[in-house]
Symmetry: D2
Subunit: 341 residues, 4 copies
């Protein structure tokens, strides 16, 4: 850790801070300069967190040398982790696709979409039972009934199922019905929920928050992994920027960052990432091209009737066409598509 | 609602959509143009939400005419609402200040800061018992013990107390100990929590999310108010932008927007808004100058020792100096400071 | 154009505005609603620009139906335009790559990099003679001498050359030496420069500004094309967001937007887009995968010695490896790489 | 300067870099750690710029200790600078207001607005002769004729005049007609223009770019001051964010940052900063409250007829009301309004 003092800081300030660094067992360094005094602390700087040196009135700035995350870091675990969701392996040489509607709307409607997802050759099935909606007047999901429909449909088709958990009190129910939890963008920093998922027994797909940096996302995963659940998959789904021609700005370079900084798998959701049906396929291809391990794609058997996010949902034939084109992109990166479930 | 069709859309598409508009009891309008056909729907367009016209493949864009919120809107309730938190009235002609540390760290430490807050003439006391922290390795708050310290200290000093609630399961405990709930930026779109608070009996200070537009914030309040709890106070605390010289970018024009669009009170948190101790006072003055009804300010009896957010906490004498200068700004806007508690 | 009046607007306001709409030859529409009156204007709404209806105190909002650009729009010109830069065709079925250093630093250094660019099979050569630098104390480019080195080196190697023009007064000199102008992100809205380039005889590669929406970029191109120069190529190079793990946030969905909204070619610059050498190749693959027509890549024969942007420059062997992998991605999109120059 | 090496960097990399640090006369520091090696360079780190250490493949990150600007820095010049524009002093204890229309539209129209500006008690007059407009089909300004109208009107009324310069070739003409140059947001990083203004003889009001950090703005001013023109005034006018309820997001904490980091005066433009007439006055009050030295306000004698930016222009009576209220805010900050011109 590098501590830069304010111009007016004196020797006494420096001595006080150096003594505090030494008190936690780190090696202090004193570097007086012409315009600024710089202090250093060598050793595991995570120990320094409890000194809160940035609070000191003589301190201008504290620069961390080491990343604040550890368990999710590639430095601690240089080889790629593979996360197993039912029959689907995420993070290995094979690329996977999870499809399904934004929300489970009814047993019949979900069955139609799920059958189309299966027929197209996808590897997993998604559908929301608990929907976080901007407006209290919008459809909020079927809740427990939705979980049951999801579970039954997945079993019938032999597809692992993934669904969003929005609340601590629902963790047990979701775990009982789904093969993996999804944490939505709005809950990426719901730390109580993350802690509970760290103690749960199913994998977690962790979506990046709309205002979350890649480092914030890594720290959110650290909450889960540090509690014991190593089966975390990152999901890039777009950040909020000034650009309004797309619903969000899909930050594919986050895939590159995450693969470099962490050993955990990364999937991309181009449906929420763009919000525009026509852009889903090209951005899905781009995601695979830059190294993503898989895709989450919204599909609806009749988008015109969808109760949420219909404008970004693919028609079944568009989804099938997307899956037909993916093998060439996977091959171009030296990988291959997983076999259909 | 205005529905703009794609250039290739035909008369049959228009007719289908017009029939759907009519089916919910609204008056359809057909406006063929040279390059585009435009459709309209006159009446309460909130009824149209369930038609999901934006999902239709012939639709290019849907523009709303009316705001999607109703209960919080100034059009529905033209006069300012006043929210009472214990002895403190927020939103009337008098301006209030709530001070306190980021977190309740111990009975003794909190007591020292609280005494200084009271001595400076503040109107309310804040302190976190449940802390959402980016890192799992940071101090997470004292939990229930923190709530008790907060309640006892407030009673002793005669100050109403406000604390953050981060989880549905804590709503009852927080309601039992505090005079108002605070919803933090990371939970602004935790819709299950908002719904629960809409059914609770204490006021809610709702902080703007880091990536939330003013409209998103209004919709989040709509969740609470539409459940029956009309006592909501907005809090501007900065949004996330590319600028890194401050922790967040405090968007004071949001105060102007909120006062114009809603009848609910607005307070500002310049501590989180800037993250820099030296900028707290000038931005507090600016907040009052542009029409805020009150301030949330972080104070710590010894910021050097603070377990969280010390770099943005005022020293007690800085907080006292701030309160001394506020009456002149309040007067310049034609208002006055509330009497000390 | 749709004009939404304020709630308090009266019939007289509506009549006044309707009369103004009629005065420019458009068909006015009056749509009184329960909570708002909405007015419409059918016809070429670009005529309405001069009415400045958004300035009227009774107007709450004006929504455009048609895009504000025309000459660059795909609606006006449904087939893809191809722009020829020397021997290189951009926008057809073949994908092209332009490589070179950020700046021309000396004849010898540029020659080494250019030879490596040629040897790797690239189609064009880039290098800056006039460098816009954030600091006045940084290397500002060789100016005219740099243009001569660029021209000579390109001729020797048989590669078309592209260089940035930063100032109206340099347009003639750049046109005399280079095969295409590049307009940098900081000049995307230098409208006097754009107008001059619209009257020049060489193609223009127009980079997106750091805070420019896709619509702003389209409007900037409209400046050039409306003056008569139809040979414009868009370049996505990243926008400024809160994410700091990359220099900019490369917005690849802008490629999808631009290809849908305009007939002009689109290239991507993953070097400035990420600022990190390790991310250049995967983001280049992603750019091709989502439909870009070409790439601008920074290469330096010895990045350690580069006077600018070395941290994002590829080593010659990295550039060669990138070009070897591109044909598979081009093929996956149904295209092919252009033959080497 | 602190140089953090990559985990895989060896002793040889460190030695090579340390030797380069020593070669420019700085004191090298070697700090091997458990997980990373850190190097330091003590002395004037601006000398290190030419080493381009961030380009080195063994370097993970370079952290600057000193700010990259010098001439504009408060450390070099601890007392406030005052800039004189005709009879108006900016940056001293007295606060000034400059009013006028976005563009000079005709001699008659400008005369009406200018008379109202004068009557309200303002200290300076603004009006654009060269207008940078997003659309090539919008009014672009009167050019030289506009400059003459501006000059004549200012002289008649005894008000100093300010106008935007958008192009190197216009610097002489603007200098001949106006009392100060304005550099618009889109030209904040037009470095050739900044250099020319650094050699000119009139003060410069430098507006912050839409995507410019405060540090970028300080560096832009450094271009001007380092050429010899010390009379620079910063202008905060809003940055581009995801929030769309205002035209830009006015970042008033930038005023606090600029006043702390630099000795140069700071003014605020709440007209462009909000884009909404109703928000101009409250944000003007807030700007003064947080320490701004003055205001730029758009006024139009008949905003309904304005050829540009009418929706954010104040009516003359609104401008007069604003000026009547400012003295109380100035007094609250311990300052006073300058006497009317």
């Amino acid at each position: 850790m590098i501590i830069i003092l304010k111009p007016q800081a004196g020797k006494a300030d420096a001595d006080e801070i150096l003594a505090r660094i030494e008190s936690v067992g780190l090696k202090p360094l004193y570097m007086p300069g012409v315009e600024r005094t710089v202090l250093g602390a060598l050793g595991d700087e995570r120990l320094l967190g409890r000194l809160h040196l940035q609070n000191h009135p003589a301190v201008e700035r504290v620069d961390q040398i080491l990343a604040p995350y550890k368990a999710v870091s590639r430095e601690m675990h240089p080889t790629d982790s593979v996360v197993q969701i039912g029959s689907m392996r995420v993070g290995g040489p094979e690329i996977v696709v999870v499809g399904g509607p934004c929300a489970v709307e009814s047993r019949e409607a979900f069955g139609k979409t799920a059958a189309a997802v299966k027929a197209a050759g996808a590897h997993g099935l998604r559908g929301g039972a608990f929907k976080p909606r901007t407006s209290p007047y919008s459809f909020q999901g079927l809740g427990l009934e939705g979980l049951e429909i999801l579970r039954d449909t997945g079993r019938e088709l032999g597809l692992p199922v993934i669904t969003e958990v929005v609340e601590l009190g629902d963790v047990a129910a979701v775990e009982a019905h789904a093969d993996a939890f999804q944490v939505g963008a709005r809950n990426m920093q719901n730390f109580r929920l993350l802690t509970a998922l760290g103690q749960a027994g199913k994998p977690v797909i962790l979506k990046r928050g709309m205002a979350a940096s890649v480092e914030d996302l890594l720290m959110a995963a650290e909450y889960i992994v540090s509690e014991g659940n190593r089966n975390v998959i990152f999901c890039e789904r777009g950040i909020r920027t000034f650009e309004k021609g797309t619903r969000n700005t899909l930050d594919l370079s986050a895939v590159c960052q995450l693969k470099r900084l962490s050993h955990l798998p990364v999937v991309v959701d181009p449906s929420h990432g763009t919000g525009v049906r026509e852009y889903v396929a090209p951005m899905a291809f781009a995601a695979i091209a830059c190294g993503a391990d898989g895709l989450l794609i919204e599909v609806h058997h009749e988008p015109k009737e969808a109760l949420s996010d219909g404008a970004q949902s693919l028609y079944p034939d568009q989804f099938a066409a997307l899956l037909e084109k993916l093998p060439a992109f996977a091959a171009a990166t030296g990988r291959r598509m997983a076999d259909p479930a």
